[in-house]
């Protein structure tokens, strides 16, 4: 399955992936409109160090402990992609307790949010990768 992989030596730490992610999941058509006056809460997040930066998003694990641990059944695997049902999630954050990558975060709606490889929005393929100027994240089969 195609996943988002990180090439950390290429990451400039520019945060563009975070902006593209926020835009993609806003379901707005215009990026300026989508980002104007918003505090972004993206599903991919940069880890910044002295010299190293890299962006972390859901790994779509084959044996995901977030899904197994989910106490409501809101998380499930659909064609390899780990998705969340926002109607079922009550924001207990057991998945945040479980995820070894720190890739699940609270959403602005009081439940959780995670990368669904943009299959949950109008774009269909990861916009973070599309927006990355330096191939520091790629969407491919490995």
């Amino acid at each position: 399955m195609k996943r988002v992989y990180v090439n950390e030596e290429w990451c400039l730490g520019c945060h563009l992936c975070e902006y593209y992610c926020t835009f993609a999941n806003s379901n707005e058509k215009d990026i300026v409109k989508a980002l104007k006056n918003v505090v972004i809460n993206p599903r991919i997040k940069l880890e910044e160090g002295d010299r190293i930066n890299f962006a972390v998003s859901c790994r779509h694990c084959e044996d995901p402990i977030c899904v197994k641990g989910c106490i409501t059944g809101a998380l499930s695997i659909n064609d390899g992609i780990i998705t969340v049902d926002e109607n079922k999630c009550i924001g207990c954050y057991t998945c945040i307790l479980c995820c070894p990558y720190g890739a699940i975060t609270p959403s602005d709606k009081g439940v959780i949010q995670k990368c669904e490889l943009c299959t949950n929005n109008i774009h269909g393929t990861p916009q973070c990768v599309k927006g990355c100027p330096n191939n520091a994240i790629v969407f491919e089969e490995r």
Partner: protein, 409 residues
């Protein structure tokens, strides 16, 4: 091949999904004492709070049993296992044969002996959807509710009904709330947060005696109430195995393949003990993620696969009135404390390993700590100072990060 599963909750679902990974066609029969499609037990308090609905509480979709090809007997109880004949007997005397049996009977409320308890008319426990429905029917905006037990279940109940009753009082023997997951300092923070919601605590105290609608506490206080909720603790349902001389302690004893001491009988979830890798001891971990994973492991082995259930640890994530806390492992060894802007964090390190942690408030990326505990990662292999500050993948070596984020095996 016929699989029979006793119980219809998280462990049972784990088993069904585990079996179907290996065996797509074998017959699966589920026997459920409760009348409902499998629901998420922890959500009963959210139902009362208005944060979910009975429909959204379903732990698996409406077509789960069809898709998984399971036959379910609702409202039926297994009263006996006959392991010689490989049969179970239901309360309506139906006999069902099995090839492989899973006991996923969970736990039940523990009701300690309390003087005068029989004189209390409106008393409830808080473990099932029916319990929640009964409690909801009984309460009114004028209700004065007394809850015995300041643990997870008692306090979740308090939160659930907080907007619907006049007052809530909680009494507990322990000197702090949530004593199974929080230390004293952490418990104080959460307690004062909950107290702001008009919930009153009497800790390090107990009910000496009930007289109708009055509770007299050991330290002399008298509390008038009209609804009593008993949430002192839970006891694993081990009797079916105990009666046929299977090995039991507090919970049913299982091996690393989730099999009991009796051939072809497996057990999973709140009814059994798990090997806690942070203490190297067997203990009952009455937690949903554990129940699911144990069930899945049992299912895979029942269907002829081979899977070991390792890495069990106590781990919990819960919130009360918007304040979140995540805890895992055991609180032993050297303590690293980090408190910042109302956020509270403690890490516990022993023998060069992270053994446990408590986070209150900021719980971001907590799972990175959890995985250090579960994977027993030596802290000498990571930048511990960095990770103490905040959980991050930056603290791992470049090679380790390549494995985690670069898909390198």
């Amino acid at each position: 091949m016929r699989y029979v599963i006793i119980g219809n909750s998280a462990a049972a679902v784990g088993a069904v999904e585990g079996i179907r990974k290996i065996d797509k066609d074998g017959e699966i029969i589920i026997i459920s004492k409760e009348p409902y499609h499998v629901y998420s037990r922890p959500l009963i308090s959210y139902l009362l709070y208005g944060k979910t609905t009975e429909e959204n509480m379903k732990y698996r979709s409406e077509d789960f049993y069809d898709v998984m090809k399971c036959k379910v007997f609702f409202n039926k109880e297994v009263i006996k296992i006959n392991n010689e004949e490989k049969q179970v007997q239901l309360n309506d005397n139906t006999i069902i044969d099995y090839d492989k049996l899973l006991v996923a009977t969970g736990s039940r409320p523990f009701i300690p002996h309390m003087e005068g308890l029989e004189t209390v008319k409106n008393k409830f426990t808080f473990m099932s959807l029916d319990d929640a429905k009964n409690l909801e029917k009984a309460i009114s905006p004028h209700s004065k509710v007394l809850i015995i037990g300041a643990g997870l279940i008692g306090l979740k109940c308090a939160e659930g009904i907080s907007k619907k009753v006049e007052s809530i009082t909680v009494v507990d023997l322990a000197d702090r709330i949530l004593s199974s997951i929080l230390d004293k300092e952490g418990a104080k923070i959460v307690q004062s947060h909950i107290e702001k919601k008009n919930i009153q605590f009497f800790l390090d105290n107990k009910v000496e005696k009930f007289i109708d609608n009055k509770a007299i506490l050991a330290k002399g206080e008298e509390i008038d109430f009209d609804i009593l909720v008993l949430a002192v603790g839970v006891r694993p349902n081990i009797e079916l195995i105990k009666e046929i001389k299977g090995e039991v302690n507090r919970g049913i004893v299982i091996d690393e393949f989730c099999e009991t001491s009796i051939e072809d009988i497996y057990a999973a979830g709140d009814c059994c003990e798990s090997f806690d890798i942070t203490t190297n001891q067997n203990r009952v971990l009455a937690l949903l993620p554990n129940a699911y994973m144990q069930g899945e492991c049992a299912g895979i082995n029942m269907a002829g696969g081979e899977k070991k259930f390792g890495k069990a640890i106590p781990m919990n994530s819960i919130g009360f009135f918007g304040l979140h806390m995540v805890t895992a492992g055991s609180y032993v060894g050297e303590v690293y404390t980090k408190n910042e802007n109302n956020n509270y964090k403690k890490l516990f390190v022993k023998d060069g390993l992270l053994k446990g942690y408590i986070m209150i408030g900021d719980i971001n990326k907590a799972g990175i700590y959890t995985s250090l505990i579960r994977e027993k990662t030596p802290i000498s292999e990571i930048d511990f100072e960095l990770i103490c500050n905040k959980p991050s993948l930056m603290a791992f070596s470049k090679i380790e990060r390549k494995k985690k984020l670069g898909g390198i095996k």
